[in-house]
Symmetry: C2
Subunit: 215 residues, 2 copies
DNA sequence: GCTGAGTCTGAAACTTGTTCTAGATTAGCG
DNA sequence: CGCTAATCTAGAACAAGTTTCAGACTCAGC
């Protein structure tokens, strides 16, 4: 059971060694870029996020954009990181209310899903980038994955998941991403996504280890 | 220029009407193209499948390639269709031997997985195309999905699945695609993919309904 | 065999992600 | 303040997917 050494409390998902303390203006540039990216994505999805337009909207030269984010995929995955962090904070303020872990996870994911429905184009851009990412984006995609895992574990209310439970969580994540894709590409309805999420969440019950002293 | 009327003919149950009786030379061209695509993909994955190179390797003009497959994604999804059909035939010759449906499905998917491992670059190209496909490729992606469903249902040995079981199959497919992606991008090991597949296949047990009658 | 519609070819053009270059600006430092 | 290295800018250039077009070819029907 190796969980790596990341501590789940702080929001600094800084798993990259090469993050040498940006100046204030640089931090501002970075935020402008991410904002422009999200804005363009919201308007027209993956294709609408064109690097020249992002650069212009962010008031930054194309070369600079590429210095901050080495590819369009990197940019969109970073955008997703941003949005997920937002979601995580929101969710922590109002945790799901179900009695069973499976219920709570399903509710959490459906809440996230509804948030995505409000900006389907943005969802499209982020999810497509996430699944299209190749090895060069692995660290960033991994960060997103860890964030998602954290959100699900939060909903389950688990501090020390068993390997079995971690596997169930991974499967839930798989289903979550893939179901999103089928919805985004118009091959599955919202109702179907809901059913799939509820179906996969039943896996949690299978791995629910009877904790000593509980029930 | 629209190719116009394809409706005058017999209405076969085949849900692929976009192929109005190719001549022999056209069929040959199509096969050459798919072959070239698979070959280039095997060598260097998604990026190595360059439309100009596919055209040249297939001995066909670029415009012709685009007439047969309106985009690189269409081409690669069609390539996947081809390979899946192959796999399906192979699997039917030697069906999985497990006693439980869940076992058989897991075995089937692991067999498919091993086949993909033999051509990881090809797998990369096909799976990336599949998940990156947008709405314009929905029909083709759907065909692939139905093929996959058929393979899984075959392994389960089901003729008339319940909606619940179909949902489980969809979740298995989700997991299958997404697990493949994490493996291809180097974020999950082969062992982990195996565990995830086995985990999700446990869902089948949950929906295993006794054959005669329902509660 | 001749014709006309549809198809194929070769090549150029266009689009958008990415890279490169030369000069201007900024940040850190003595 | 003045210096130097790093960063930023504008813009050209390059790469690969896609589109377009004029002309050559194929094929079904006469």
């Amino acid at each position: 059971m190796d969980r790596g050494s990341w501590n789940g409390d702080s929001m600094t998902a800084d798993a990259r060694p090469a993050a040498p303390a940006l100046t204030e203006r640089q931090e501002a540039r970075r935020r402008r870029i991410l904002h422009a990216s999200a804005q363009l994505a919201s308007r027209g999805g993956f294709e609408a996020v064109q690097m020249r337009e992002v650069a212009e909207a962010a008031g930054v030269a194309l070369g600079t954009l590429y210095r901050y984010f080495p590819s369009k995929i990197h940019l969109l995955v970073a955008t997703m990181q941003d949005q997920l962090q937002h979601l995580h904070t929101t969710l922590r303020k109002r945790p799901p209310a179900g009695e069973e872990a499976a219920q709570r996870v399903a509710e959490t994911l459906m809440r996230a899903f509804r948030a995505l429905q409000r900006e389907p184009h943005l969802a499209d851009a982020m999810v497509r980038a996430l699944t299209f990412a190749d090895r060069s984006v692995s660290p960033e995609v991994d960060t997103v994955s860890r964030l998602t895992t954290a959100i699900i574990l939060d909903a389950m209310g688990l501090e020390h998941p068993t390997p079995e439970q971690l596997s169930a969580v991974r499967v839930i994540e798989h289903t979550w991403h893939s179901a999103l894709i089928t919805w985004l590409s118009g091959r599955a309805s919202i109702a179907q996504v809901k059913i799939d999420i509820e179906t996969v969440c039943r896996l949690i019950d299978l791995t629910a280890e009877p904790e000593p002293g509980r029930g």
